[in-house]
Symmetry: C3
Subunit: 271 residues, 3 copies
């Protein structure tokens, strides 16, 4: 991170304005727990979501998509079948791909699937929690279900290696988010302790990576923008919430209402 | 529309009272983004939702269903397989069918599927946005993902043609809703600019068409009732909401609480 | 029920504290209407949800799961395929299984599926509405879609028989919840009339049975704890709600915030 906070805020505001002006389509093959919530987050920030796992239409949908999100939360065969064809179509169309290896480490299927996809295709951003990123990097990522048992900073070195190996940005989400790509690295602070009590906010971060990737060709900047917006919206929502239920709703309201002052004043990024 | 507004309001209030008194079952084969939200909207207005795409049980479920909703938002094979058997069973049982051609125009699959269903079966109501209705009517409905790039009024002529050709009511949802059937046509105003920022409110309109179809044998009146209730609830919700997150919740509360005065005072229908 | 209310409250508080301290993984094969809402309820109470219907990973996931929930709301083949392998794996691993026979009685498939699973495997808790439990017990459980047309108390005798036959606890949810196992029986009162207007709160009760089963080896106590927490949270939420939309959100907030006084003061259990 060589950007001063003020310059970083301006970059993010530029990308946010571009999302709101262009309403880029974010195509998601995602899990059935978060189809509704990630679609709502994308709409709230100004993007145009489409959710599908119909392999037959992937190439056509890619023609007007600004990003493809592949989220491995549901690893049933009917979901998996569309992922590789979609990624191939995205590469052919120059559409950036965001991968979320949900639960990597929790089962052989959840570990092998993202590794096989990454061995064959090039990601723009990979986003996961510490356990998932440790698993992808070949470390023994202790996991318990789909929740991480490691801290983000524990996965920072592995994340940097993975990012260089894959030539993409890697995000480790947690109490502190780690973003790295090439020689760049940033730690994003803020948010709220209530956020892990709402299902799928990690998946929402992945979806927002898609929105930023649709307007910014730099994977590090796109990933950083999404992480900052998540933390700022979470902080804004937590100030009004009385628990995880209301947090989720106010989170969408915050994404929708987020103004220049909110980002400039709440941005907390360390190199 | 030959009804004066006051008479129209009484018709809608009569149907709303019937839904609340009879709790008709609305059976939906719908997409995985809106299963929860459309079930909640149906419960809030007084109907009894059942969501299924198990072809094996369609004929049995039809025995106690007041309407069948077929929503093409998820066009994966396991969802598509149940649609034609369900429609055939609905016809045999005299159950009205509401079709929502989500994303028609966005891919060959999303265009061909509703056309094939309509070529074989008779709809009671078809509801979509302008791009979708233009596509079904054979016009080049410019679409971007699942969101329309055309205005409702641009699709009014095509909607009337489609309605006469299919012998059903057609709804074009948008900032203004167009409802047409035979020689009848109405424009429904109201609602809130926040509504397109909540995923699946179009699908919710389709679901509510099912609730009204279960208590009113006239497709034009049923479709018009659903559109008016959507606009009134959206307007009521928007007065309390601080963004799309809270809008969605207050929308359910408005459907539940909607009283006679709300409809009489907020109804905005033009012929 | 031989426990005095005060002793019962202490039991439930002990289990609730254990859930919040240990964050047990509750693995759910559940329907696509409630994946998001039941995951949020589990997170709000302190458990760690994982939703999957991938048969291949069931045995591995069982290694760190505290309970398995099998919910029959979606009876499509791709969901059903994972259920028996998961249950077998749960038995092998000593993981308690909670069965929710959604819509039993509404179709042959919805009646035969839970009966076939129960004929082969041993449940820890079975939870349903009166129509569903009457159907499983071989009585003609009048059902209309997935909503019950019978009262809980009408199913009390059948529930006791089913509980003894299966050697498990049985919960009949409704305006009054009935919990029975062996010679034990309790009626749980409270909650709110708004609760049936929110989709999937029955499924949420089933999910919470999973959370309690993960920390309490007695099926009657686990089921009773889940029912009491549902009624208390529903009552707390209803005091703030203006309809079913806001009720659902405040319900999660109540699960999260529920303190000792809330349970001690609101507990309403009769033998």
């Amino acid at each position: 991170m060589t950007n001063a906070p003020a310059a970083l805020a301006e970059n993010i505001l530029r990308d946010l304005a571009a999302i709101r002006a262009k309403n880029p389509v974010v195509l998601s093959i995602t899990n059935y727990v978060v189809t509704n919530t990630t679609a709502n987050a994308l709409l709230a920030i100004g993007a145009s979501p489409i959710m599908s796992h119909a392999a037959d239409e992937m190439a056509e949908l890619m023609a007007f998509s600004g990003a493809l999100v592949i989220n491995l939360g549901t690893v049933a065969p009917e979901y998996l079948a569309a992922m590789d064809p979609a990624w191939v179509a995205a590469d052919a169309a120059g559409v950036p791909v965001i991968l979320d290896p949900v639960g990597a480490g929790a089962s052989r299927l959840r570990t092998a699937t993202p590794l096989a996809l990454l061995a064959k295709n090039k990601a723009f951003i990979v986003r996961g929690n510490a356990s998932e990123i440790l698993t992808l990097a070949g470390s023994s990522g202790a996991t318990k279900g789909v929740d991480s048992t490691a801290k983000s900073d524990d996965a920072a070195t592995c994340a940097s290696s993975l990012a260089r190996l894959q030539g993409c940005a890697v995000v480790v989400s947690g109490e502190v988010d780690i973003v790295c790509a090439g020689q760049d690295k940033a730690r994003v602070l803020g948010g709220s302790a209530l956020m892990p009590r709402v299902t799928g906010l990690g998946c929402t971060a992945t979806a927002l990576c898609g929105a930023f990737a649709a307007v910014n060709p730099d994977p590090f900047e796109a990933a950083l923008g999404a992480c900052v917006v998540m933390k700022v919206a979470g902080e804004m929502a937590a100030e009004r919430a009385s628990g995880p239920g209301t947090l989720q709703l106010y989170f969408y309201d915050a994404l929708y209402a987020m103004g220049e002052g909110d980002i400039r004043q709440r941005l907390k990024v360390e190199s």
